[in-house]
Amino acid sequence: MANVICDETMESVAILAKLALSEEEKEQARKDMERMLDYIDKLNELDTTDVEPMSHVFPVSNCFREDIVSNGDGSASLMANAPEKRENQLVVPKTI
């Protein structure tokens, strides 16, 4: 275990992920994340000088849709998932 994640980083990651972690959960997450970083370090040991950066695994490009309406009203299944609804809209805590 080479990587150590400080409390501050844990705090900020939790805020970004909108997670309220208990002390126990925080320690577990810290361990997981440290291991992930170690793994990244391991990958970084490979010499990639002549390898082009890649964002996709498959050599596929230009997958397009034509601009034709193909969907109807999908609101029934959307609303079925909504914990609270009004006038076919999802109700959430007031957000400005």
Binding site: L16, K18, S55, V60, C63, D67, L90, P93, K94
Partner: protein
């Protein structure tokens, strides 16, 4: 003597593209649907759904980039911008950070000092968010995802503008280019064009830029002008009193005509961008760029020159007609049927513009057809109706694209050409106004206008005023 300051402004302009479907799914983008009726698993962020890029979005973005003299990126990708907000169901917005579709362009604007270039840093494609309606009564917000996934382009300028006037000129220029391309209707009020203003001030002659603020929620040219003037004054005041400008995002309140801080740099979001693994790269070939370039329309400047040569109408008319592509098209189509360019131009510039203003509409909302306008003009030319009746008919036509021939027929508005009827009316008016007739005969010629008016009234407006004029003169001499 106080110091002189210079305002430095750069713009981020969001434009909603005029595609029929959303950027990554086949849901309709049309306005006015009941809440959430234009949604599917893709645009509501359901796990396992797969976005597929709308080809037309790429073409519109390229077309705008080419019109704005940009370089087109040959290999581009989409990235995820991560944040939590109820209007963003995926918890990330698909955008372009690393390889935007267009870069390094410029547009030219007219300023009192002459033509000026405003450089464009980049144009990227992204998706719009849903709409939140706040309910103060229950302290909740309602979410409608119909706009979620509607395609946008964001046009980012360099900080090249120095005044509100230059900003408006730049926005007008973009609006015209994009409208002429048919890539968007660019309506600020309706949100299909939105501008965020980045503004800083510095002492005149200084090299370095001052600390900037970003202003959001500006949805009219008037709000933009007020916000720029207000923010510039606020920053100068801070500097003059020895304080410094804080880098922050400010929200413009149109009602109060002031801005207030939303968030500062310290709590700036960390968006953790990364390439979207669901969307494959887009490779743009030279042939594709050329195809889009070849289909670019005639833009305003070229159109203005052609109108001058082809139609011989005044520059003033040309300026107004070409301010909207829809109006220019309507002009050309009408002239093609009824070759009286100045007459057509008058109906567009005067009556049409008056009604648009009265009804708070845009030129692109004009509903009547070229065919009907041509008919109306021809009827006036053939003296079937007079000018006053024509204006009445036009108002109806403006509302419902009514066929003027049918309307005039049905409402019996045709000019009465029966000379006997006219003669009778003229004689009645002469008999009923002995005093005026007396005045006329004593050399007060301008009272003739009153008698013409009285005759027109008797004829319910359906007479040729020139003919009435002549008949009156004959009978009174």
């Amino acid at each position: 003597m106080s110091r002189q300051y210079e305002t430095v402004i750069g713009l981020e302009v969001h434009v909603e593209l005029a595609t029929k479907t959303k950027i990554f799914c086949g849901c309709s983008t049309s306005f006015g649907g009941a809440p959430n009726t234009h949604t599917c698993p893709v645009c509501t962020g359901m796990p396992g759904s797969l976005p597929v890029l709308n080809r037309q979005v790429v073409e519109y973005a390229m077309a705008v980039g080419i019109a704005a003299n940009c370089e087109i990126t040959r290999c581009l990708k989409f990235d995820r911008k991560n944040y939590f907000y109820p209007d963003n169901p995926q918890n990330y917005q698909i955008s372009q950070l690393y390889l935007p579709i267009c870069r390094n362009g410029y547009v030219e604007i007219e300023t009192p000092e002459g033509i000026k270039q405003v450089r464009i840093h980049e144009i990227h494609m992204e998706e719009d968010a849903g709409k939140l309606v706040h309910d103060d009564w229950s302290d909740t917000s309602l979410v409608d995802y119909n706009r979620s996934g509607v395609p946008l382009i964001e046009i980012v300028s360099e900080p090249d503008m120095r005044s509100a006037q230059e900003v408006i000129a730049y926005l007008e220029k973009l609006r015209l280019l994009i409208q002429y391309l048919g890539a968007s209707d660019c309506k600020l009020q309706e949100g299909s064009m939105r501008a965020d203003v980045n503004l800083s001030v510095r002492e005149a002659g200084a090299e370095a830029y001052g600390t900037r603020t970003e202003m959001k929620n500006l949805n009219s040219f008037r709000a933009i002008t007020r916000a720029i003037e207000g923010e510039s004054a606020r920053q100068i005041e801070l500097l003059e009193s020895g304080r410094s400008v804080v880098q922050e995002t400010r929200k413009w309140d149109d009602g109060k005509e002031m801005s207030y801080a939303m968030r500062s740099k310290e709590d700036a979001q960390d968006y953790r961008y990364f390439p979207d693994p669901d969307l494959v790269p887009v490779i743009i070939s030279e042939a594709w760029i050329e195809k889009v370039r070849a289909s670019q329309p005639e833009f305003r400047t070229e159109k203005m020159e052609r109108y001058k040569k082809e139609y011989g109408i005044p520059d003033y008319d040309i300026g107004i007609l070409t301010q909207s592509k829809h109006m220019a098209d309507l002009f050309e189509e009408t002239v093609a049927i009824c070759p009286l360019p100045k007459k057509v131009s008058n109906w567009l510039m005067v009556e049409t513009m008056r009604l648009l203003k009265e009804k708070n509409m845009d030129a692109q909302d004009i509903r009547y057809s070229a065919g009907n306008l041509a008919k109306l003009i021809q009827m006036v030319e053939d003296k079937e109706i007079n000018g006053t009746i024509a204006k009445e008919v036009f108002e109806v036509m403006f509302e419902q694209d009514t066929d003027p021939e049918i309307y005039v027929e049905e409402h019996g508005l045709k000019t009465v050409t029966d000379e006997n009827a006219l003669n009778r009316a003229v004689e009645d008016v002469i008999a009923a106004n002995p005093q005026t007739v007396e005045e006329y005969r004593n050399g007060k010629e301008k009272v003739l206008g009153f008698l013409v008016g009285q005759t027109m009234k008797v004829m319910k407006g359906q007479a040729d005023p020139a003919l009435v004029n002549r008949l009156l003169k004959e009978k009174l001499s």
